[in-house]
Amino acid sequence: MTEKLATRDDASSAKSFNEAMGVGTGDLAGVKHAVEDGIRLALHGVDHTARPTWKLNETVEFYRDVLGLPLVHAITARGWGPPGHHDFLHFFFDAGKGATIAFFYYIGSERPEKYAPEAHHFYFATHTAWAVDCEEELVTWKETLETRGIQVSPYTRHEILESIYFTDPNGYPVEITRRLRDTESIDEVDARLTMQAAMDVESEARAAGRLIEDIDTVWRRKAKLVNAYKEDAQ
């Protein structure tokens, strides 16, 4: 570690939005991989998720009063340094194990149309799944919320998760999920082979100026990679 706390840059003093938020170009050319410097970075779970809201009262009512999650912290600020930044509130509801569900409420702003919720899987892809410990807890969440008057999805069993979904007053999807089993080493192997197959197919499609046609194309490439992986074992 080379920086001392007192001399570190403070993002709220940054002169531009991009500088304050570390906005990069997305270009990975020349970017080093972890194996090159040998430094192992690690994360230890969620601190908070954050989304904007233009419905302050409803958001607090929903998370604090309907879901019953304690409101544990609130920040207020008059702008934030970078030009054009709204005055705002940033507030946090307890989501367990030290994690919080946070919102920004930007004073004097109205929701831009592009932030309106959409009934589309692209929109619903941005969500956070909050964990419960067991089947009983998941059932309690679903039945209790329905009794309180919230529309809740049926249960969905994914491969290793069972989930329910509902939306908050902002239209944001919320997922409550439980682990059906721990992941094993074969899950990691399989994930590596699946993603290698898909990445290879994406590269080839890009080089040919087209999109990946279907998942079958990925499944066929995966079969080839699994064959090679299995033969390696013999």
């Binding site: 969905t156 491969e159 899950d187 082979l193 995966k222 079969a223």
Partner: protein, 86 residues
């Protein structure tokens, strides 16, 4: 030759178990965590027989499929051989 690789975990194991009785089907493995189901002409998977939930059903060939999906339904999937490249 059709080949379906099945990752050896609980949510997919019924794919292997329901194929055991079928005469024209060969099952090998698991090798390094994968079962392989093979057949010459076609393979049909029955969702209800496997007691497979829809969310997993739609990813039934995630272990790898050397073959072509000839029929893709909510309760039945049929695959046939393919000459398409891997």
């Amino acid at each position: 030759m059709i080949e379906v690789h099945v990752i050896d975990v609980p949510e997919f194991r019924a794919m292997v178990d329901t194929m055991r009785e079928k005469p024209a089907v060969t099952i090998s493995g698991p090798v390094k965590g994968y079962w392989t189901i093979s057949a010459t002409d076609e393979l049909t998977f029955d969702r209800k027989a496997m007691k497979m939930k829809p969310a997993v059903w739609y990813g039934i060939f995630t272990g790898g499929l050397n073959g072509e999906v000839a029929h893709w339904g909510r309760d039945e999937v049929r695959v046939v051989g393919t000459s398409r490249s891997f």
